[in-house]
């Protein structure tokens, strides 16, 4: 089961679950596909200034510096982008080969997406859209998931995700390029969109532990009660430091 890396683990006591609502629907509606969690992760604190990183190579394409802002908060909703939600402890069939495909693209001297989520059994398609060499180097602790050269106009490189875990994504040629890829061995995870919203479907009923991770806001844990049918709304607010 995927665990987030040891970071600033915030006590469950500081979690603000602003609303938990279960909308019971008739059994004929929605059939027997389980329940759904929807919600938004918000942050009302001050946003640290973006990081300016020096570019060590290929200045004509990448520029002299790159700007990285890991904490992206929507102005109107205060929703936080790229927060990963993981509902843990649910028995899930092992999938050796999933039909899903996710992309990881080198573009503009950055990884897109910078934070990616994928399920074991899915194919990760590695691309390079820049007019120069990159190497996509993905590591899980001391183990290497893949390290491939991506030459100019090179072909797409597909790789089957075989293990769950938290992976760092780097380009050794351009040390300022950094991303993260999180692989799960179950389907009960999501990543928030630009307004901080997420949606996880097909959950069985029960009381489940959920982990919520953001690159710099840290990890918080909570419990979610999922009814037999319907939709549960869970809004979580990161505490201000």
């Amino acid at each position: 089961m995927q665990k987030f890396p040891p970071m600033r683990l915030l006590s469950t006591a500081v979690i603000i679950v602003s609303s938990i609502m279960a909308f019971w629907v008739s059994p004929s509606f929605g059939d027997s596909v389980g329940s759904t969690i929807v919600g938004r992760v918000t942050f009302h604190g001050s946003i640290p200034p973006a990081q300016q990183l020096n570019v060590n190579k290929d200045h004509d394409i990448c520029g002299l510096t790159v700007t990285v802002q890991p904490l992206i908060v929507d102005e109107s909703t205060h929703g936080v982008r790229d927060v990963v939600i993981n509902v843990e402890g649910i028995e899930s069939p092992t999938v050796e080969r999933d039909s899903g495909v996710e992309d990881l693209t080198n573009k503009g001297c950055a990884f897109i997406p910078r934070i990616g989520v994928v399920r074991v059994g899915q194919i990760l398609n590695l691309r390079n859209e820049d007019p120069m060499l990159h190497n996509t180097h993905i590591r899980m602790g001391k183990r290497t998931f893949v390290n491939v050269a991506q030459v100019v106009d090179g072909r797409l490189i597909p790789r089957l995700v075989t293990e769950p875990g938290f992976m760092s994504v780097n380009c050794d040629k351009h040390r300022f390029m950094q991303g993260y890829l999180i692989a799960f061995d179950h389907p009960f995870f999501a990543i928030t969109d630009a307004t901080g919203q997420f949606r996880i479907e097909g959950l069985p009923p029960g009381r489940w532990k959920a982990s919520i991770w953001h690159e710099i806001l840290g990890t918080i844990q909570t419990e979610v009660t999922v009814p037999e049918r319907g939709e549960v709304s869970v809004n979580v607010e990161y505490p201000t430091p």
């Binding site: 590591r139 893949v146 490189i157 040629k173």
Partner: protein, 262 residues
Amino acid sequence: MLLRFHFLTVILVIGGLLVSNVHAIQTEPTPEIIARGKILYDRSCIFCHGVQGKGDGPAAFFGASYWAPRASDFTVGQYKFRSTASGKSHTDEDLFRIITNGVPGYMPPFVGWPEEDRWHVVSYVKTLHSTNSRHNEKPLETFQIGTQNVPLTVESIEQGRQVYFKFECDACHGHNARGDVPDFEAQDLKDNLGMPIRPTDLDLTNPYSFKNGAAAHDIFGTLMTGLIGTPMPSYADAFAQHEDDAWHLVHYILSLSQGSGP
């Protein structure tokens, strides 16, 4: 001069094939075989690879504590020098080959040991791996093709030089392939353990820096598999359907050392 160069290079390639193409039969590991492998390991490997195989033996600590490559951590179960795709584990033959040939400048060859003993060590080392890397991987298909079809010619070397720059090998190995990258410090290359990669590690004019072997097919293998745990990526996908270009590049790299391989 040119004739001498060609002659030496051909000898190097053939010699490499003879030395590195190990042919041996592994027997099914039994408790007795593993116990025998442990005795040999404790006698000869423990000083670098450590009691538990974590690459933390006393010789590794004093000899290579501050630079790459450090002695392999067997508990990780991944090896730089192998015949499998990037990110994959290894074949048993990969382990046998490294024990047999050693790593120039770092690990002595154990070619003097009976083959049986080398296989016993392979069997023991595999018991130190994490459970998800004990299986025997399949080598990359390019290795199953066998020998190369591209003749070593001056034209091939020139084509290889063009590939060298087209695929930006100079980004790490430098314009003159001596690790001569102007902003090397800024590049800050490190291995998976955070050990710095030095310019001399990237010097392609010195065949002793070819830790995966300096024979033609060894260099071809390094291009295809990459070196796990280091910044060197696999070019197998880049050379797919253009395998001849890979051999041209091998010829260019061999020409840089004028056939003066170890």
